[in-house]
């Protein structure tokens, strides 16, 4: 019985130590584990021009302008606190629209405009049939992104 007890404590102590070590490592690498930065991160912490990173947020309402025969798109990415202007030349994902969450990869130019080389749509966690979405909008209960 004592041998089993000892093995039990040994395994438990090992798991606790391992858990602590992992937690410390994850906290230490916190800034590197995020897939993208928010506009607030970019505005407040500041990123030097020409460093590649990803920015994520919502496409600001009424900010999308298309020029050059619809190939070049300019819009602003916002987290409702700060907004960063983005330009992108290329194909946008189907889900891209105003109010939609997106993640763009690229660099800041000298004027503080984010020049994106890739734009990904970020889907939210809400799933519903179209009729339910319409009904929610009609009733003014819509809490998700604007369609």
């Amino acid at each position: 019985m004592t041998r089993k007890r000892r093995r039990l404590y040994f395994v438990l102590a090992g798991m606790v130590t391992l858990g602590l070590a992992t937690t410390l490592v994850l906290i230490a690498f916190q800034d590197n584990l995020v897939f993208f930065y928010s506009p607030s991160d970019v505005v407040e912490k500041g990123v030097e021009p020409d460093r590649r990173f990803r920015i994520g947020g919502l496409v600001e309402e009424n900010s999308v302008t298309r020029t050059d025969g619809d190939i070049t798109v300019a819009f602003r990415v916002t987290d409702q606190v700060h907004a960063v202007p983005v330009v992108f030349r290329g194909l946008l994902p189907d889900l891209f629209r105003e109010g939609q969450g997106i993640v763009a990869e690229g660099t800041l130019n000298g004027q503080g405009v984010f020049v994106a080389s890739e734009v990904l749509a970020k889907h939210d966690e809400n799933y519903m049939p179209p009729e339910v979405a319409d009904a929610l909008k009609r009733a003014g209960q819509w809490q998700g992104e604007e369609k």
């Binding site: 395994v11 391992l18 858990g19 992992t22 994850l26 584990l33 897939f35 799933y127 519903m128 049939p129």
Partner: protein
């Protein structure tokens, strides 16, 4: 608990459960697929692409469940030396690896039309890929060490060390900004999925669980038979060479 840890009793019990588990898995999978692919409504944003979720989400749940099961069985095998715990952990690994693979592939197929990319190195996707490699490493370790007792110890330790990855997978979407969306079903303020889409999803989840039980039982049974054959062969060799047969503690499970 100790009563059920006896392999002989397990063989009798599992033979009774097996047809029911297999039948349940078959019926639920058919029902879930027909419901999910044929009758559930399309999503307001994703359209019919949402149907990939009926396979992707249950597979991802089972990937994490199988690993948790494997880790608990490994701990039991390490601490209490139950032979059945040992067999269970070993049997669960390939099933979990398959579920992880399905989750990765279906996720990729969904990501291309929805996100605009097959793969990104965000925290959720990367940690699930690590889970897949943990399964493969665990299976490889069993293969690499010939002595089953040594292999079991080494594999069990790997399974326990790798377990830290499971909470990382689950909470990665809450702790860091990821491209993958946060949890829709298992969250504190209730599911964010409309019931018409949620129900077929839950049926599929149950189907996968029943499938897990079925294959797990088959694999444990074959492992027990394999050990029996091994012990018999060893006894025979010993007899031929003229030594007394070794005690077959391995088969009866009475240590």
């Amino acid at each position: 608990m100790h009563r059920f840890a006896n392999p002989t009793r397990f063989m009798r019990l599992s033979a009774r459960i097996l047809p029911w588990a297999a039948g349940l898995a078959l019926v639920l999978t058919l029902a879930g697929l027909v419901w999910g692919l044929g009758y559930a409504p399309p999503d307001y944003q994703q359209g019919d692409t949402v149907r990939i979720m009926f396979v992707h989400v249950p597979a991802a749940w089972m990937a994490m469940f199988s690993y948790t099961f494997m880790a608990v069985a490994s701990a039991t095998a390490l601490i209490w030396k139950h032979p059945l715990a040992d067999f269970s952990a070993k049997a669960a690994a390939p099933i979990g690896a398959c579920f992880t693979f399905i989750a990765l592939v279906t996720g990729s197929l969904w990501g291309q039309p929805m996100w605009g990319t097959w793969w990104v190195w965000d925290a959720r996707l990367t940690s699930v890929l690590v889970l897949f490699f943990l399964y493969l490493g665990y299976m490889a370790l069993w293969q690499a060490i010939e002595d089953p007792q040594k292999a079991s110890r080494a594999a069990a330790i790997l399974a326990l060390v790798g377990f830290v990855n499971v909470p990382i997978i689950k909470f990665s979407v809450d702790w860091w900004y990821t491209l993958h969306q946060p949890a829709s079903v298992l969250r504190l303020d209730g599911p964010a999925i409309h019931p018409s889409i949620l129900w077929p999803l839950l049926v599929m989840a149950l189907a996968f669980k029943a499938y897990f039980v079925t294959v797990l039982l088959v694999r444990i049974r074959s492992e027990i038979n394999l050990r029996k054959i091994r012990a018999m062969q060893q006894a025979r060799i010993a007899e031929e060479v003229g030594f007394a047969a070794p005690p077959a503690a391995e088969i009866t499970g009475r240590t």
